[in-house]
Amino acid sequence: EPEVTQTPSHQVTQMGQEVILRCVPISNHLYFYWYRQILGQKVEFLVSFYNNEISEKSEIFDDQFSVERPDGSNFTLKIRSTKLEDSAMYFCASSDRTGTDTQYFGPGTRLTVL
């Protein structure tokens, strides 16, 4: 069964450094998402991406964040200058033909900012 994959599974970085989190969505999916879960809290929407551009973004998704689909398979989230409060689990998700299709989540990347 096709799955969303994410790399790395755990990323440790120093405050102020740039990180890139990578995702490979399910191959025939058209909509892509990033969510964040700070430890012990609920999962929060960051951004949606369709047709090679951002569809919607939350207030969390400020200028430090960017997303890209550099080729036909990868979908990346970049944080330019990490802050301590960016430490969280980051989930990538993708969905099929329409926005109302179920979103399938990857296993997540645990980001630790020191």
Partner: protein
């Protein structure tokens, strides 16, 4: 604004027994989608079940079923014949349309930590 409330932070159930996790939500929309996701200790988000609001019939998926009460805005998850592998955090989620873009996002509840006891 849409909100999702899970009032049970933690629950436990004996193996083979049945447990019900509650979820309520608030929306002014008429057509929407509701989900339950499971997050085991590995922290991966795994889809358990999906319910379309326009469907009166409650969704079922093997040992998992929902009690969807649209008027009461209630969406509870029933797990029958609980297994040790069901131990996880369970999140209720509401799918919200994001303006004119046609995309949607999930609004998650705070989760219920379920422990299945041997």
């Amino acid at each position: 604004a849409q909100t999702v409330t899970q009032s049970q932070p933690e629950m436990s159930v004996q193996e083979a027994e049945t447990v019900t996790l509650s979820c309520t939500y608030d929306t002014s929309e008429n057509n929407y989608y509701l989900f339950w996701y499971k997050q085991p200790p590995s922290r991966q988000m795994i889809l358990v079940i999906r319910q379309e609001a326009y469907k009166q019939q409650n969704a079922t998926e093997n040992r998992f079923s929902v009690n969807f009460q649209k008027a009461a805005k209630s969406f509870s998850l029933k797990i029958s014949d609980s297994q040790l592998g069901d131990t996880a955090m369970y999140f209720c989620a509401f799918m919200k349309r994001l303006g004119a873009s046609g995309t949607y996002k999930y609004i998650f509840g705070t989760g219920t930590r379920l422990k299945v006891l041997a």
